[in-house]
Amino acid sequence: MWLNEVKGAFMRSALAVLVLTVPAGTALAQADNCRDCHMAIEDEDGPAHKSVRDIHIQKGLGCVECHGGDVSLEDMDEVRAAAGYRGVPTHRQVPQFCARCHSDAAYMRGHNPALPTDQLDKYRTSVHGIRLFEHRDAKVANCISCHSVHEIGDAKMPHSSTHPANLAQMCGKCHSDADYMAEYGIPTTQVEDYTGSVHGIALLERGDLGAPACNDCHGNHGAAPPGVSSLSAVCGNCHAVESDYFDGSPHKAPFEELGFPMCETCHSNHAIVRPLDEMVGTSEPAVCLQCHTADDGTVAFATADTISRALGQLVAAHGGADSLLSEAIEKGMMTTDEEFRLKEVRQALIQARTLVHSFDADSVLPRVELGLEKADIVKTNAAALIDEYYFRRKGLGFATLFITVLVIALYIKVRRVDRRLRS
């Protein structure tokens, strides 16, 4: 009994010592003289302060993982003299500096296995990489130009410079600066154009993260996004159906021969606006007129005219059906089936517009006819519902009249009965 009590007291004391000493030991192991000193000597915008938001620091990496040195040393000269000290890389050294870890598949597997490790290889194929390594151009972007230095974030983090919503602004730091870009002879209106484009509005105004930012077309580190042979074909990544139709169209070969980009030729690049049906046709603002004339010896004008008229017919039919159906809805009629059917008309219109990229009237017309057929059914049924509405009103009128006559007749009967009973 006595022995058991002593044993219990001993075990409790040992446990208490263990509990108290383990955190102290851990704290000693985590001492970071780099951060402590830099925090003290730098202002709020200094690297040590910024690094609090850096994904590397958040994942448990410290200053020495990049800059080398020894965190246990307090004297800066001793740190510089320490084995493995790398200090601050030059602009040209930065890609390899980051690649020490990011190109090391074995190392990255232990930290972020989902992250590719071919960034440096891709970067070397990009205009930025070529100019940096081959032309020794110190103005082109390296890793930190886009990812920032000490507050590097995952692209999913809203504060990150590479978050889709921040990307245009980030690229624009250089590409919108006319003075900075003067020697390269490329336009500096890309960000401005993109901001007003259908893609820019979707991403920047509506917050639709599915809309493309700069890197979705131009790639992240390489010259083009993965799987895209040429930037002119990049639209097909999202607009796959249009791209397929174009590949099978009569425009494919001449565009390639003439070196015309497949989408940009008609839709422009950064300033892409919502496409209009009027883009196809034989009068302004049809883009067909950029290359074709009525007597250019091709069927282009006839095809464009046929497609344009067909689309116009379907748009008008959809509008007419929509208007009639809205009237039926407004009158409180049950229109669910017709609403579904109208969606099919809308679907046919979208498909017909997509088929325009085949530049083949025989492909577009069947879809338009299907839409017209369904629009006619909607119109007929909506009109029937509106007629039904008035029929109900008339029916109500007759029923009310009939019941009112009955009420009057009964009232007269009541009066007669009362008179008879009184007499």
């Binding site: 409180g332 049950m334 029916g395 009964l410 009362d418």
Partner: protein, 374 residues
């Protein structure tokens, strides 16, 4: 007169009556009924409320049977069948609309009937059982409304039923069991439709018919209640009219007017209007987020709002449970009023009158607050 009757040839109706009378001794019943009278005074209009309720119930039965021909209970068929009724079946929209309008008007008529009976002290001896059967009919009418609301299996009905049955779950001790019995499981599912459907078209109509028959027999046996101040009047100053045919014809007249009102409402507002509405909307989806505003039917709003306004805890019990207990006690007191009010015939009871007004004001205020305050 007798000579005239003897002289003229018996008509078909005379012969039919004679045939039935010979077998079922109708003369005695006719003699008894022809002696029945209804008091005539300034508030005689109140006497029509019960008849209106009865008429609306008949409309409910007829339109309910018609709906039953196409309605298919079940999570996969209920919504579709109601949609078929209102969009494809000839006059299906009208039948559903009349069913819904007359259901709401019936609840309103039953409430009005109950309060007019209460405020005229018509529940007092000897009509205690008439009052009790009436309260039973009101309860069944509310259950009709609650069970029928889910049957279209649309979004609003689904979530309102989930909230409504969830309240039953707050009842101590048996709450959870009651909830599972009501829902046919932990959640509102197709099994709940089956139960509510059975309740709505079989159990409730059966119970309602029995109680209604008792209620009507009591009224016929005891006659219609006279106003309180008639007790001091000499018989010669009391004015009556014969139940047959005077009152019955007037009743029919009122029924026709109500029918006309229903016809107008059903055609002009097939999906209801304002807070009294039943649009089919979209099909119930248990995985969809609930709508921003879930409201019960207007006749449950006062209770729903009162429970919603209660704090999380009152004394040592949950606020919702406290509310349910108060409603239960209030309901019991209201039901037992004929036995609690010991006032003599002709006497007014200040306390019961105040209690009645308090209950009425509470219902009206809470209902209004429920619709005004989001």
């Amino acid at each position: 007169m007798e000579t005239e009757t003897k002289d003229r040839q018996p008509t078909l109706s005379d012969r039919t009556y004679g045939w039935v009378n010979e077998r079922f001794k109708l003369d005695a019943l006719v003699e008894y009924m022809s002696g029945k009278v209804v008091p005539v005074h300034g508030h005689s209009a109140f006497y029509y409320m019960g008849g209106i309720s009865l008429f609306l119930f008949i409309v409910q039965v007829i339109t309910g049977i018609l709906l039953l021909m196409y309605y298919r209970p079940g999570a996969d068929s209920a919504y579709e069948s109601v949609r078929f009724i209102v969009s494809e079946v000839e006059f299906g929209w009208l039948i559903r609309s009349i069913h819904s309008w007359s259901a709401n008007l019936m609840i309103l008529a039953v409430f009005l009937h109950m309060f007019t009976v209460y405020f005229t002290y018509a529940y007092r001896k000897p009509r205690e059982l008439t009052w009790l059967t009436g309260i039973g009919l009101l309860g069944l009418a509310l259950l009709f409304g609650f069970s029928g609301y889910l049957l279209p299996w649309n979004e609003l009905a689904f979530f309102a039923t989930r909230v409504g049955t969830g309240m039953a779950g707050a009842i101590p001790v048996f709450g959870k069991d009651i909830l599972i019995v009501m829902r046919g499981g932990e959640e509102v599912t197709g099994a709940t439709i089956g139960r509510f459907f059975g309740l709505h078209v079989a159990i409730l109509p059966g119970l309602f018919t029995v109680l209604l028959a008792a209620h009507l027999i009591f009224i016929q046996r005891q006659g219609i209640s006279e106003p309180l101040d008639w007790h001091a009047l000499p018989e010669s100053d009391k004015k009556h009219q014969k139940f047959f045919p005077s009152f019955l014809l007037r009743d029919l007249l009122v029924w026709l007017i109500v029918l006309n009102v229903i016809a107008v409402l059903a055609v002009l507002f097939p999906d209801g209007i304002g807070v009294v509405h039943w649009p089919l909307g979209v099909k119930a989806d248990p995985f969809a987020p609930p709508p921003a505003v879930i409201r019960p039917e207007w006749y449950f709003m006062f209770a729903f709002q009162a429970l919603k306004m209660l704090p999380a805890h009152i004394l040592f019990i949950e606020g919702e449970l406290f509310g349910i207990l108060v409603f239960t006690v209030g309901g019991v007191v209201w039901t037992l009023v004929p036995f609690l009010d010991r006032g003599r015939a002709g006497d007014r009871s200040r306390y019961f009158m105040a209690f009645g007004w308090l209950v009425l004001a509470f219902i009206i205020v809470m209902t209004v607050v429920g619709y005004v305050v989001e």
